[in-house]
């Protein structure tokens, strides 16, 4: 129950934080850190998959409404919500994830979290940026934007682990 309440609050906070604060952080006029992925990243291990998918969908719609990009964030967020369980299996430590723990630096260390975050962020950004351009003409310039933005998003997310979600 406590975990559910915490996740609902996190859902709202993450959307507001993204649209009100992070969207104003523009580096080079191109890149925005998409920190709202934190919500997906931090969902408990044992969350049923359909809940993961539905909350990814709702999160995407929430961001889309504010960013005027109907459907784009939704598609990207649903995709990572779908991929996440497979990725977690792939990255699992030898004796599995311990009960009562969450996918965070605090429990599984910096390197594990870095891999986990980077893969999720890159998948999300690839989907998002190519949907936005919706053509292959600018393939390489878009790829560059994906790479740069992924680095920015991932580092912001990892930093937040040290400042906001320490425990």
């Amino acid at each position: 129950m406590y975990i559910l309440a915490r996740n609902i609050v996190r859902f709202l906070v993450v959307i507001l934080f993204q649209v009100l604060l992070m969207d104003n952080v523009m580096i080079n006029g191109y890149m925005v850190p998409y920190v709202y992925l934190l919500f997906i990243l931090l969902m408990p291990f044992e969350t049923p998959r359909w809940i993961q998918l539905l909350s990814g969908f709702m999160l995407g719609i929430g961001i889309d409404l504010f960013e005027n990009t109907l459907g784009m964030h939704t598609a990207a967020t649903v995709l990572i919500a779908f991929v996440r369980p497979y990725l977690l299996n792939l990255l699992a430590p030898r004796d599995g994830y311990e009960p009562e723990t969450f996918p965070r630096i605090h429990y599984y260390g910096f390197l594990w979290f870095l891999k986990y975050t980077l893969i999720i962020v890159v998948i999300h950004h690839l989907m998002l940026f190519y949907l936005e351009v919706f053509q292959l003409k600018e393939f390489f310039s878009t790829l560059l934007r994906v790479i740069l933005s992924s680095i920015l998003s991932a580092s912001t997310i990892i930093l937040s682990q040290y400042f906001v979600f320490r425990k």
């Binding site: 006029g29 925005v32 998959r49 990814g56 969908f57 005027n68 109907l70 598609a75 600018e138």
Partner: protein, 272 residues
């Protein structure tokens, strides 16, 4: 039947994923500029309110830039005033100024702005109550900004030059030839000018102005300068225009209300 049920049971997550993903794709494909603007309309009241709150802080932090912009605009206006008062001396011109307003400017503040996306939008803090309506032009002290897409009571959204849906007729100052200005989504600093035929002589650094053909903008508002051009598309130039408006640091803009827009459009509709 049993196998079908088992199939759904086994693949329910995959099916749900495909369903949600399809919904999202339908949103994107169906979301033409018009629908997008309707959805924004639903959301504008809420987000407009939120954005204007946050913007208070942002504006305070960027007072320096805003001041500079206002100073520049003042200077420009004073220059223009000098020029006009020179003309006023000749009696013929005066009759022009005794007519009622042709254009009226509504000063507004930007409460939300994006520059790094493919479909960028700007939100202004003025709406219908303050006389800002659909299809009005928006300019800054630096030049062309965009066109009002929708307005609610106290807010309005603007489709700026740096949006893939933007199209406007503009002309080259040196030879008065008109072409279409659009944006290809690469950099917020540059736009593309098309439909200028290859036989014209153009130079790097030529000024681009609004053509005044659209009844949205008065003639002669600065758009930018020619950065480079090439001839690879058959009979027309492909001209890269460096925009004079810096969309990344924009705080105050003016919305242009053309009192004769309706008259002009009615007349044009009749003749068609």
């Amino acid at each position: 039947m049993r196998t079908l049920l088992r199939f759904f049971q086994n693949y329910s997550d995959l099916l749900l994923f495909l369903l949600l993903e399809t919904i999202a794709i339908i949103f994107i494909v169906q979301g033409s500029s018009y629908q997008r603007s309707r959805i924004i309309g639903l959301n504008r009241q809420v987000s407009g309110y939120l954005f204007s709150k946050v913007d208070g802080a942002r504006e305070y932090l960027s007072l320096r830039g805003a001041n500079q912009q206002l100073v520049n605009e003042n200077l420009e206006l004073r220059n223009r005033l000098d020029r006009i008062s020179g003309q006023m001396d000749s009696a013929i011109v005066i009759s022009k100024f005794t007519e009622p307003y042709h254009y009226f400017y509504v000063p507004s503040r930007i409460v939300h702005n994006s520059v790094f996306k493919q479909y960028n939008y700007i939100t202004l803090d003025k709406g219908k109550k303050q006389g800002v309506f659909k299809n009005m032009g928006v300019i800054s002290d630096q030049g062309l900004v965009g066109i009002v897409l929708e307005s609610s009571n106290n807010f309005s959204t603007v489709i700026p030059v740096i949006n893939r849906d933007f199209r406007l007729s503009v002309k080259i100052k040196a030879n008065n030839y008109a072409g279409i200005l659009q944006w290809e989504g690469e950099s917020p600093l540059y736009a593309i000018l098309t439909e200028i035929p290859f036989h014209l002589e153009i130079l790097q650094g030529d000024t681009i102005l609004t053509s005044g053909f659209s009844s949205i903008f008065p003639e002669g508002i600065e758009v930018g300068t020619i950065e480079s051009f090439s001839l690879d598309k058959g009979n027309f130039y492909d001209i890269r225009v460096m925009l004079s408006t810096e969309f990344q640091r924009l705080f105050h803009v003016n919305v242009i209300r053309n009192y004769r827009q309706e008259e002009q459009q009615n007349l044009e509709a009749q003749t068609r």
